[in-house]
Amino acid sequence: MKGCTTAGVFLCELLFWSMGKEDAMIRVNGEEKMLEEGTSLLGFLEQEGYQTARIAVEKNGEIVPKSRYGETLLRDGDALEIVSFVGGG
C-alpha cells in the first residue's frame, strides 16, 4: 500500500514537472518555432537577438505595446509578426 502511494506521488510529480516544461509551438513571421509554454515575449526577443528599439511586434494580429513585452506570455498556437527596421529614408 505504502509503495503504491509513493509511486502515485512520483507519477504526480512527473506529470507536474512535465506540465511545467510544456513545449509550445508558435509561428514567427510564418516559421514554426518551439519554445517553452509561457515564455515572455521580451525573453524570446532577447534570446533570438532582436534589437527591441528597432522592432514592431504584432501578436495574433494585434500590436503589442513596447511597455508590455515583459508581461506578454507566449502560448501554444500564437502567431508573431516581427518587423525589424533597417536604416535609410
Partner: protein
Amino acid sequence: MAFSREEVQEALRCRHTSVIQERLNKGRVAISGLGGLGSNVASALARIGVGHMHLIDFDRVDLTNLNRQQYFMRHVGMYKTDALREQLLEINPYLDIRTDCVRVREENIKELFAEDDIICEAFDVPENKAMLVNGVLEQFSDKIIVSASGMAGYGDSNTIRTRKVAGRFYLCGDETSDSGTGMGLMAPRVSICAGHEANLIAQLLIDGI
C-alpha cells in the same frame, strides 16, 4: 495665379476621372520625415491632387541631401518643411498643406497626427521608424501607418515590395538593405521605395482598405 482652382481641378479630373479625384481631394495624409522618401512621396501625392497634406520634419536641407531628395540648390539651408511646401504649391497652389517643423516623439504623436487619416513613415533612423509605427498603432485605433524599411544601395529594383504586415500597418522596401552597411542611399532606389509608399496611399484613398 496663372490657372484657376477650377482649371486645375478640371485637368486632374480629366486625367483621373471625377469619382477618383473626389476621393483624392478628400485625402488627409501626413508625411513624417521629408528626406529621400518623404519628399518624393509628397511630390507624387501633390501631383495627383491629394487635398490635405501634413508635412513634418525638424531638419534643414543640406547639400548632401540633393543626391536623392526632392530639393534644389536654392533650398540648401532652408527648413525642409518650407522648401517642400514651396515646391508642392508650385505643382498645385490649391492644396491644403500644413507644416510642422518639429521632432516627432512618442509624447507628441497623439496631438501631432490627430487630424490625419493615413500616416506615411519616412524617417531615416531605424529607432525612429519603430517609434512612430509603434506609437501610431498603440495610440490610435483607426489610423493607417505606411512605413518603409530597406532601400539603400543600387541593388535589384524588384526586391522592393509592399506588404500588409497586419491590420493597419503596411510596409514597403526590401527589409534588408541597411544604409549603415556601406551602402549609400541613392535617388533611383529610394524613389522606387517612395513610389511604393505613395502608390499604396493612393490605393487606400481611392479604394479604401
